[in-house]
């Protein structure tokens, strides 16, 4: 059973995967509670523009993805506030816009090949030492922010205006939250893929919400679901030669369905 850990690439994939599961589920709790789930999909597509630029220009796609995903997050917030557009419409425009841009860049640069495919759907085989380093460095900063401000972010998710009138710096924390989500998504695309990362961010929380528990327990259960899906998904992917991202997502969906059934009224 544990023979897979004899391979270095599996060790790397597990370190990256477990770290990403932690980041995605904790940040996902706030994103879901704020009814902002779609932002993860949109930023995943913005990150893809970064991947495209990286592939064509010969930089590490992951680092460029982090930068472009951040720019995408800030553009969304700017468009929302400066033009008072509907949030979901802005997200939808940026989602297709980014994907279109990524495809054009890649096709102009002649880089339409397997390596792009691995960023779309994730590939545990392709996680490099440098990727793991990037995930640990950026991921640690993101995790520290999330844990440090979890009570403030929870209050904002509950009622933004009441939080503001209590003296919480709502705008600043919102800005930091979308920035952190952008970074986490960019980091995740290696393992889960940009088309699938939204699921790992949103579904563990939605599944744990079915148990109707308080904040702390909901977040812990969501973390457990995310970790379990990554472990199960990667193991299945190794033993049955399945694509890692898709297997992880199907595992988390299975947990969601079980949660839904178990709590049916």
């Amino acid at each position: 059973m544990l023979e897979m850990f004899e391979y270095e690439f599996m060790q790397r994939a597990f370190i990256a995967g477990l770290f990403i599961a932690t980041l995605a589920s904790i940040s996902g709790t706030f994103v879901v509670l704020r009814r902002y789930s779609l932002i993860s999909e949109t930023l995943a597509h913005s990150a893809l523009v970064g991947v495209a630029v990286g592939l064509v220009a010969g930089y590490n796609p992951l680092w460029v993805a982090v930068v472009v995903s951040l720019l995408g997050a800030w553009l969304i917030e700017y468009l929302r506030s400066a033009f008072s557009l509907y949030s979901d419409a802005v997200l939808s425009i940026l989602l297709s816009g980014s994907l279109a841009l990524a495809v054009i860049i890649v096709s102009l640069g002649g880089a339409f090949n397997n390596s792009l495919f691995s960023y779309l759907f994730g590939s545990i085989l392709s996680v490099s030492d440098e990727d793991v380093r990037a995930i640990i460095i950026f991921g640690s900063f993101s995790l520290i922010f999330l844990l440090l401000f979890s009570k403030e972010l929870y209050f904002i998710a509950y009622d933004e205006e009441v939080a503001q009138t209590s003296g919480i710096k709502v705008k600043f924390l919102n800005f930091l939250l979308v920035s952190v989500v952008a970074v986490i998504i960019a980091l995740s695309i290696r393992v889960v893929g940009s088309l699938l990362i939204g699921a790992l961010m949103v579904i563990p929380t939605v599944a744990s919400l079915q148990y109707r528990m308080g904040f702390r327990n909901t977040m812990l259960l969501s973390l457990f679901f995310a970790l379990l899906s990554v472990v199960a998904g990667m193991s299945l992917s190794y033993y049955f030669s399945l694509p890692s991202g898709a297997t992880i997502v199907l595992c988390v969906i299975a947990l969601f369905v079980i949660s839904l059934m178990a709590n049916k009224k």
């Binding site: 009441v162 209590s166 919480i168 308080g214």
Partner: protein
């Protein structure tokens, strides 16, 4: 009479608020002093909620000035002195993952500094606020499962947990049954008298509150402030406001 020499909690001068050139509120001036018990009434769309939002800095006035504890609103930092319970407070999303204690604890969040955990004082204040609102026995219950009246007390406990000097409530009885409403006003009055918390609230229940209020603001684009007990009794604007004969009894001699 000594109140006159103290800094008012709110000092509002010539407040005006327009949306796309249309007057929502105009020429509003008043002061609110420590220990007061004030009700705001007025027809729907008359600007009551807007006034409260302006006081809380959630909207920016077109002109005029708001001072809080003597400071200009934009320079005011001690927001934990002000407890706010919005209109929709008792209509919480049933799926929101929060126990009663989770919600009341939020009242302490803005008070603690960066990097600070929950202190002993925080815990005590949270328990104290739940006790005052008689919800301590519900502390581990999910907020979504409570009745309207219980939820309302949770929201006020949250506001109380930050040890505010003033509580501002926007139609706190939305979604609450009549029996709980009566109990609620008794609680509110108790907070005002025993805890010396200033209370400002929007209401439609003129009959219920009439016995108790210190001052009455009627808001319909403009404000009419009934300071004088005798004036409240014959407050002509009341009948103008609602098109009915209004009888309000004033019991408390107000020092102002």
């Amino acid at each position: 009479m000594q109140l006159k020499f103290r800094v008012p909690i709110f000092d509002v001068k010539n407040l005006e608020f327009k949306v796309r050139g249309q007057d929502i509120l105009s020429n509003i001036s008043f002061e609110i002093y420590h220990g007061e018990y004030i009700a705001i009434i007025g027809p729907n769309g008359g600007g009551k909620t807007t006034l409260i939002r302006l006081l809380l800095g959630l909207e920016t006035p077109t002109s005029g000035e708001i001072k809080i504890f003597g400071k200009k609103l934009k320079n005011f930092k001690e927001w934990s002195k002000i407890g706010y319970v919005p209109q929709r407070a008792s209509l919480v999303d049933a799926n929101f993952p929060a126990t009663v204690e989770d919600i009341v604890k939020m009242g302490r969040v803005a008070k603690r500094g960066f990097f600070a955990g929950i202190s002993k004082e925080d815990k005590e204040k949270v328990i104290d606020a739940m006790q005052k609102m008689d919800i301590l026995h519900l502390k581990d219950k999910m907020v979504g499962t409570l009745s309207g009246g219980q939820r309302q007390r949770v929201m006020i406990a949250r506001a109380l947990a930050s040890s505010p000097e003033i509580l501002i409530l926007d139609e706190p009885n939305t979604g609450v049954d009549v029996k709980s409403q009566q109990r609620f006003y008794t609680l509110l009055r108790k907070l005002n008298k025993e805890e010396n918390i200033t209370i400002l609230f929007i209401t439609h229940d003129i009959g219920v509150i009439a016995d108790d209020i210190g001052r009455l603001f009627t808001i319909n684009r403009k404000a009419t402030i009934c300071n004088d007990p005798k004036k409240i009794l014959s407050c002509e604007e009341m009948s103008e406001l609602y098109g009915i004969e209004a009888h309000l009894i004033h019991n408390h001699k107000h020092e102002h």
